[in-house]
Subunit: 434 residues, 2 copies
């Protein structure tokens, strides 16, 4: 078998066999197939597409390029959630303790912030002392002991994905449905889960800008998960404005802690409840979604979810007093309020621009090696449909360095489209694919 | 400027600017743009195409990646011919001395055999002692002295093309019109020519299988040449059977020497005459094609072309006695005749298979570093339209090693499609684009 023949086949729009996909994935991981051949193949896949069967084979080959955690001896359902990424999305910090408090195992391997989009690991690491770089042995031991762990991808998990993603990033082949599905699912399938809930974001702050695109990606990921024998459902959810009212790292941790006490913006609370309910059903801790929602409310009201979060923080060497005293979390030294310049209604918010403003302040990464400033970010005052006057606050910027402050403030102001027309906020949950 | 943005632009079917093309070509030649980015871009170009203006810009940037020979001080027209490659095409060995004998300068930089297709340099090197690796200084001195030189590509000429071609070869991006045009024309434009005649081959032994594809490539190459201020015409010629009756290296040299004496198969003689006539017109040694044809016949009949060939051989350190005594050329030790198995007419010849058979015998290269056996090859006995019986010889294989002999013989036999229907041989010259 030769890589050039496989490239030619895909170039001409033909379907690759599992053996051909294996040859490429194994060869690339082992350094035997050259990166310049793989990048040509990636571009051919981008422009020619892949069948569902090809995407499943690609996922499986990427999955078996590394270690696949076997948690079957834990003898309980094991369910994770994956979000395709957005602005202000801190649901994992609420969902993981809630679902684990219900007795479902939550083996959660998360990612870091990149470009305009935040990352669960960076948020967790704003808790002083919190370690996300647990070994797989520590991960397993936490799951046995407290039923949940929140860690970063280790070198053992899907090494093919790490190499492929780095290559896609510099060859303009990231936003390609089968490649995205295989990248996400190869990592998730390595977690030893029995079920997965997908939160596929739609809107100007998401990677998928249209509901149609998002639905196709969700359907493909469900096919892949089922092809590999896992339960999988997906919610398509709105990302045409930031989720909740805080964007940043410590800022979002506070919002998550508040949600664990039952407080916070309605959209964020609702999404946490809906995603948890789906996970509880897949985890057999609820027989239907309504029961799942009730269970969520109970676990919040009883304080069980908050206590589970305390266990997680302790187990991962974080400072548990932050749960009760938010002043122990990093904060920014300065604040600046961005105000509306005209009267009207918020028609739309350029959510990606909000994410970029947050990144400019230091909450995100321009490049993989950029350093995060955990205290900075934005609090969002006005949402789509809100009525504003001249000088109504739209958002507050929390910053430490003034260097990119003006650019961030200008971005934030421009992100708000204000007009005379009354508008309805878009629905949060657009569809459930089960 | 970032390579990834340029890749994305072409991926989305947009037109690249000259600055973007320059950034890639200069960056790649200098080792600053990575090969894995260039290969992704090449695949995007393959699948999305390029405008004529992009192809012209690409050619010019590749051309100026290296040395551009300036022969303007020679103060005479300088004309070369380029063939897109086929099986049995030894026309350069006849045309170069004919056109030079008419007083037109012929600065010819040729290529080597690859896959099923032969190479002028390998043919010339079957003449004992013949050197094709002249320096540019020697090249220029020969052109001043005898008006013609036949050399290989030097490291100074279009280094971007060498790097790009090597990358295209392993990434399935060779058969792409704008990339082919830029590759060919960047090298030809570096020769210091004023005019160029293109022989664009069409048929199952050519890279272009259909006349439509060949015409589009020819038109693009003419646009590129004119865009760079050169005269350029193209003939579309048949490659649905081998050209002439000999395929191999020394075998083809003998056929070329015979043609310089006015002897040989009609198709080969005709093509040499037609291409020479076009070159003589571009070189102002004839005012029209008919006059060019007459001039060709004169230069052959007078022996002037043969004497020019002798001058070339002497100037390039070859053994000039080979011109008169073909036994001084390498020959194969063994011969095997491949005979027809049934009665009928030759309907078609798989010309690429004949080329591959010749390669298997050792006349060509499977890879760039394969060694050539100069004496081996095939003589073709039956052509399209010929009537054959059981046991009529189709071709004779000239070989030294029996290793791949049976495979070559089987390929040759299978290449001949014999049937009951009477067929006409396809016309040799399909079109002239002037």
């Amino acid at each position: 078998m030769r890589a050039v023949d496989i490239i030619e086949k895909k170039r001409d729009g033909k379907t690759l066999t599992r053996d051909e996909i294996r040859f490429i994935v194994q060869g690339y991981t082992a350094g035997e197939v050259a990166d310049y051949q793989v990048s040509a193949l990636l571009m051919a896949i981008f422009l020619r597409g892949m069948t569902d069967a090809e995407a499943i084979a690609l996922t499986e080959e990427m999955l078996y390029s590394g270690e696949v955690i076997d948690l079957s001896d834990l003898d309980r359902p094991r369910v994770d959630k994956h979000s395709t990424g957005g602005v202000g999305d801190k649901t994992s910090l609420v969902i993981a303790p809630v679902v684990a408090a219900a007795g479902v195992i939550v083996p959660m391997i998360s990612g870091r912030a990149l470009a305009h989009s935040g990352g669960t690991l960076d948020k967790l690491e704003s808790i002083p002392g919190f370690r996300t770089n647990l070994s797989l042995t520590e991960f397993r031991s936490m799951l046995e002991r407290i039923g949940v762990a929140l860690i970063g991808q280790t070198a053992e998990i899907a090494p093919a994905d790490r190499k492929l993603y780095a290559l896609r990033d510099v060859t303009a082949t990231v936003p390609c449905r089968p490649l995205m599905a295989a990248s996400i699912m190869s990592k998730k399938m390595a977690e030893g889960i029995t079920g997965l809930v997908l939160d596929v974001k739609v809107g100007n702050g998401a990677f998928m800008k249209s509901e149609d695109e998002a639905r196709k990606l969700a359907e493909l990921m469900i096919q892949v998960a089922r092809g590999l024998g896992k339960d999988c459902v997906a919610l398509l959810t709105d990302m045409s404005q930031p989720l909740g009212s805080r964007v940043g790292n410590a800022l979002e941790v506070i919002e998550a802690f508040e949600a664990l006490r039952g407080n916070g913006p309605e959209d964020f609370i609702t999404l946490c409840r809906e995603l948890s309910a789906e996970m509880l059903v897949l985890g057999r801790a609820a027989t239907n979604i309504d029961e799942g929602r009730a269970r969520y409310d109970e676990l919040i009201a009883s304080g069980a979810a908050l206590e589970k979060m305390r266990e997680i923080i302790v187990a991962q060497s974080g400072e548990p007093r932050t749960l009760d005293d938010y002043s122990l979390l990093p904060t920014a030294r300065h604040q600046r309020v961005v105000k509306a310049r005209r009267k009207g209604y918020v028609q739309a918010i350029d959510t990606e621009a909000i994410g970029r403003a947050s990144m400019l302040l230091g909450a995100g990464r321009l490049r993989l090696d950029s350093k995060i400033d955990p205290g900075v970010g934005l609090t969002i005052a006005a949402r789509i449909g809100d009525e504003v006057d001249e000088n109504t606050p739209l958002a507050t910027l929390h910053y430490n360095s003034a260097v990119l402050m003006d650019e961030a403030a200008a971005l934030t102001l421009q992100a708000y489209q204000i007009g005379g027309e009354r508008v309805e906020a878009p629905p949060l949950i657009k569809a459930a694919l089960r």
